[in-house]
Symmetry: C2
Subunit: 352 residues, 2 copies
């Protein structure tokens, strides 16, 4: 078993005495990184698979293409602001967008559980069709499998996407420079808390809807405005904290984030308090972190503000430093900083 | 519910009084075709998604690319001759190969069930790596999700593939012509019966191994030999009978197949008899039907023979006719013919 056995995990995570997969392996935290590194990357060993990006980029026919895959297992299948179909289209579009690609084609692989309502399936497929059409993306190929009742959970969806990169920039954690500004396009944690509220039957005074949305248009708007985008990362599983940690570790640079500047809506903060969660680790499906040269930060913020819906609250939340440790420091209002670490597992299973 | 409700289905299939998904919807038969047509194709409405091909073909950067997706839910995960990982790589390679594409990149999306042995996972990923390497294909991007114990079945795998088409032919059912020859590259039904034998704990005198194998090399060899390949179709879910029905229906032409010429190994025939199955409907994972001009049939057979392992038994099994009905006729030794129809559902669930 060697390195594949996460036996050094301490409580309260379930430990895995026989080298078994635990829910924590799917949470976007350090256990998942270890699994992916040790079992997948090491075995499949190739240059595209290094974990530094959400999509592979390669040249074909004189063009640079981006290629990315994502499976969706969210529970419940429908939630305020969307459903698994919308998530499946937006998630893969956004992974392509993080490399600055224009998404062109999606594949759609569904695993259906015996007993699933055809009416619900129809609703989900209609959402997929509408979301793809609005985003200018074609669902070009598909596959359907059915598994016995009790073996699945209604529907699992895989979308895999192809996009084309129509600029000369290379986006990624290795491009970030000391002094660069860290921006986010809106308030954090809405998707995760909308799903959790639906799952747990929580009711809040104000509606808590998922932020799920395609963001390739926003990335395109930044590039069009002449922003030298260094790195874009969507803030899905594990939230802002996990995404910034991945960037920091790959770049070998410390990111400093201001706790006060990170936008969190009151209803999200309330829901997080009730459930004992930290909103900085909660999944988003329509939020990205953008790292841009400091001198372009104001202009990039203008683009984010122009693109944002009312109440979305884009923010300049931090800075890349020249401190060599690949970690994230969260500074509070009094100027003191604590390490914002990767969690081992995840706060929230089945969130995307 | 309208057209999405398959209420006209007759026994012995389970009927779906409330418009629910049944196992038969995943079987590659007429129920699955209806579901895919009514819920997916009609809703997603686009030219690539017409069911005539296993992969979408589009032009990008002056090249023709093929793009295809497949999910794998086989049970058990390991079987004589392979495992779900080998299946996942070969299945998608073969879907690309049916459009004459050279497979280049695969994505790998896995859904793991809590409790899965990491050792088994490692074995499956190693097989994926080895099979991809042998086939000259790069696993370029991946995704991992984990679901709770009892909600999945160990592991589900999605592979999505990109290939490049390096010739001027267009392959597909609409290309076939009256008089064309129908060839298969080897004996039928081995994969399905190997999985069923493992699942049911059947023991046979001779080893019954899956035929799972990548076939892009064979398609390339046919093209290299100058064969004007009209159509290639891999004989997976629903076997030879379902694949030929799909071709016949799309082409609007009747295919005549000789029952005597269709190669079935004795151990497969025996296993089918025990389980009450028809080998012509049993899944293969390393078998393709090739439709070629009659005058090139002998040369194409030479290529198939040269490529075949001992005992594989490629065969010239039939002919495209000018009869207008899009159906398949099976002729017996006495010259009389019966319609080889699509089954409504499937004989064998969870076979790929």
């Amino acid at each position: 078993m060697g390195n594949t056995n996460p036996m050094h995990v301490s409580c309260p995570l379930p430990h895995a005495p026989y080298g078994q997969i635990t829910l924590a392996h799917g949470g976007g935290g350090s256990l998942m990184h270890e699994l992916v590194q040790n079992v997948f990357f090491r075995t499949l060993d190739n240059p595209n698979l290094d974990g530094s990006s959400d999509s592979a980029v390669f040249a074909m026919g004189g063009q640079r293409l981006a290629f990315t895959t994502d499976s969706f297992v969210v529970k419940p299948l429908e939630f305020p602001g969307g459903n698994i179909g919308k998530l499946a289209v937006c998630g893969t579009i956004n992974d392509l967008a993080t490399s600055g690609a224009r998404p062109l084609y999606l594949s759609l692989g569904v695993i259906l559980e015996e007993g699933l309502s055809v009416e619900l399936l129809q609703r989900i497929v209609q959402t997929i069709a509408d979301t793809a059409k609005d985003a200018g993306v074609e669902v070009a190929t598909g596959d359907t499998k059915v598994i016995e009742r009790g073996n699945g959970d209604g529907i699992f969806i895989n979308t895999t996407g192809i996009g084309v990169i129509e600029h000369d920039l290379t986006l990624g954690p290795r491009q970030i420079q000391p002094g660069d500004a860290i921006l986010v396009n809106g308030s954090l944690g809405r998707h995760g808390m909308a799903v959790m509220a639906e799952r747990e039957g929580l009711a809040f005074e104000s509606a808590l809807e998922s932020d799920v949305a395609p963001l390739h248009g926003l990335v395109h708007a930044l590039l069009e405005a002449g922003i030298t985008l260094r790195c874009a990362r969507d803030l899905t599983r594990g939230g802002l904290a996990s995404a910034l940690n991945e960037i920091a570790q790959t770049a070998g640079k410390t990111l400093r984030v201001s706790e006060q500047s990170a936008p969190v809506d009151p209803e999200v903060r309330d829901a997080c308090e009730i459930l004992g969660l930290d909103p900085l680790y909660v999944a988003n499906e329509g939020r990205m972190a953008f790292i841009v040269p400091e001198e372009q930060a104001a202009q990039a913020m203008d683009v984010l503000m122009g693109w944002a819906d009312a109440g979305m609250r884009p923010a300049h939340i931090g800075t890349v430093t020249d401190e060599p440790h690949g970690r994230v420091l969260l500074e509070n209002a009094f100027g003191s900083a604590r390490i914002l670490d990767l969690l081992s597992g995840e706060q929230l299973p089945r969130i995307c």
